[in-house]
């Protein structure tokens, strides 16, 4: 047992920090999920391209596809540092989900063609899996793709298209075989968003971000934009969902916790500092506990990878804990801060309104399936309870 980083890993962390020192002014840090400020997004694209230029978007990919072939822990370290500074890394649907799908089920030719581009962030890709009637139950999607010579004709409606207006490609799934069973007959495509028949209407979200309804109306997509095998989409997505190494989700909570703790050390309420209020201390302890739980779950993933062990409890425990912790964590932040937690801006808003924003963001915890669905996975696949 060991929870230390090697000297090489420490050096890598320093390298990441140096990069961020050089390339990320603190005022450019923002949450790409929930901010539509055009200037910040421009910065984000440029910043992400710099990360790509260093090969870090494809850090874990095999070198033959433009990756650096580094182990997942290096990705985790990078992620810790990026989260700690709220680095505005955009385009994870491309270098994350699309690339992960390719690595999981792409043909050799596809991998050769797409991965280097994705790793350099040459393509800005939007999410195009969800449909109005297919959320957690992705297999019920109804968008169709019909083969017509060297093209596919795709029609259907997609929803929750994240970053649709910042992207120029859509990574999407369509039913290419209507006679096959639910999980078969799904095929993946990269669809250029400027093709005729593609249109979008905005879906603004509670977090302050923009998602979209995306309408695909007999969009003719070249066959070469098919990703993976025909009918192999389901398998690929399930294996790839936000692949690309181990994400340091805990660092998001650690950053928030540090900010709240600092607030409590600085802020008086009534006779004393918040940090000296016994109830606030219990709540801070709960926050620290949640952040620590998530950190250890991340580290366990690293450890499991290092030891070639399968993920714990069907891979569901980390997802369940983080999905369920998120609203609870930020409700606790609200309670610590008190009625001022509702303020968004101005000199009276604690922590520049971050607590208010975090709270709204906390309800965006359903990507990749709800916690309810993940609990089922944990119970059946992880514990062996009957389906």
């Amino acid at each position: 047992m060991d929870i230390r980083f090697t000297p090489e890993q420490d050096a890598w962390r320093e390298e990441v920090r140096d990069f961020l020192d050089a390339e990320l002014p603190p005022e450019k840090a923002f949450d790409v999920e929930f901010d539509e400020d055009e200037a910040l997004w421009e910065f984000s694209h440029a910043f992400t391209k710099k990360v790509g230029a260093k090969g870090w978007l494809g850090l874990n990919w095999p070198t033959e596809y433009g990756g650096l072939g580094r182990p997942p822990i290096d990705r985790m370290i990078m992620s810790e540092e990026f989260e700690a500074r709220e680095a505005p890394l955009s385009g994870s649907i491309g270098w994350g989900l699309t690339a992960g799908s390719l690595l999981a089920g792409g043909t050799e030719e596809q991998k050769q063609h797409w991965l280097p581009k994705l790793g350099r962030m040459d393509l800005h890709v939007a999410e195009g899996l969800s449909e109005p009637a297919a959320g957690s139950d992705l297999a019920s999607l109804t968008t169709t793709a019909k083969r017509d010579g060297e093209h596919w004709v795709i029609s259907g409606e997609k929803t929750y298209t994240t970053w649709g207006t910042h992207a120029d490609w859509l990574f999407t799934a369509a039913r290419s075989d209507l006679t096959a069973s639910r999980h078969r007959g799904i095929t993946m495509f990269l669809v250029p968003l400027d093709l005729p028949g593609v249109s979008m209407s905005p879906m603004l979200n509670l977090g302050g971000g923009r998602q979209n309804h995306t309408f695909l109306d007999d969009v003719r997509v070249p066959h070469e934009y098919m990703i993976g095998e025909e009918g192999g989409g389901w398998h690929m997505i399930m294996n790839a969902f936000y692949g690309g190494g181990i994400h340091a989700g805990h660092a998001y909570y650690e950053r928030a916790f540090a900010a709240v703790l600092e607030h409590c050390k600085q802020t008086r309420r009534g006779d004393g500092l918040l940090i000296d209020d016994p109830i606030v201390r219990q709540q801070l302890g709960q926050l620290a506990l949640i952040a620590e739980q998530l950190k250890m779950l991340t580290y366990e993933s690293v450890s499991n990878f290092n030891n070639q062990k399968p993920p714990s409890f069907g891979g569901a425990i980390g997802v369940v804990v983080s999905k369920e912790a998120r609203p609870r964590f930020f409700e606790l932040c609200n309670r610590i801060v008190g009625p001022l937690c509702q303020l968004q801006e101005g000199r009276f808003a604690p922590m520049r309104g971050q607590v208010e924003a975090w709270y709204r963001h906390s309800y965006a915890n359903h990507a990749g399936g709800t916690s309810q669905v993940k609990r089922m996975v944990l119970a059946t696949r992880g514990l062996g309870l009957p389906r």
Partner: protein
Amino acid sequence: MIDLEFSEQQQLLQHTARNFFAAQCPIAKVRSLETSDLGYSDELWKSMAKLDWVGLSYPTELGGAAGSILDLYVLYAEMGRCLAPTPHLASSVIAGETILRGGSEAQRGRLIPEMSRGDLIVAPALTESDGAYGADAVQLVAQADGENGYRLEGAKILVPYAHVAGQLLVAARTGSGPDGVTLFLIEPGAKGVDVEKLGNIANYPLFAVTFDGVAVSRDAIVGPVGAGWATLEPVLDRASVLQCAEIVGAGEAVLDIAVNYAQQREQFGQPVGKFQAVQYLCSDIAIDLHLTSLLARQAAWRLDAGLPHAREVALAKAQASESAQHMVRQAHEVQAGHGFMMETDLQLYTRRAKHWEFNLGDVHHHLDAAVAAL
């Protein structure tokens, strides 16, 4: 006689109010008002005044309808259901009832009829920059200034409807301890008063008001000097119960939203409402708001009956603050990604619930207050 039902008259009010707000304040209007400059509709407010709802609890001789707190409860539940944006809690209840209770004959005669007609809004300015709740939290200084007046120095925050108020009702410190709080009526346009909008999660019309050596004459004092908190406290108890009622009404709407979604949304080949996990989420909401309703109605009834009520009010608001938070979280779990979209109605409730959770004391304040009352 144990009877938790509303009277026939109250049921009639409930019915009238439900229809009124459904017609006059549909959810589309709530959305557009939220981002308007005023943040509420003066037309709606005046219509309410015509129905005698603005001064519902005021004496008839001052233009009111002599309604009970349970009558108000009924109205608030309906306002909560429709998210009707009105200055009722701030102006009609907190400010108006404080003036009724502590004000001079002249103050009452001058202000209350105008308030009843919906022509005057009075904004209570109680909270200060640390957000604390209670007499101790009043720190804004009112320094005696010669024979005839005071000078106010300091800031108030979370002041509702200050932008349209004809008067501010300001709690200031004229001495130490709980008996050192005095209430002043001050015009927002007075020299040295500055009003600044506070952006907030609910887009509720909340303001910071700063007082830079504002001169006030003695006749602007409401009630005896030093008796401000004693005047205010019973009114805040009433307001807390009405805040509970608003949460209950909103909760019933949230429950409808969640249940309807669970019945209609299909995943994995069945309505999601068939999954026990979703049934738990929906029943959590039902339980929360039902308990809030029971506790709040009890507190309201005790207020009307003139019985001791500190414990019951505190428990009701503790429950309501918990419920305000918990019911929206559970509804978001039911609606998942869908509920996160601004186009759904749920988020309208979610954002307001955060204001309600902390308005008039949070769960910690009220649990402690309940124990203090034992």
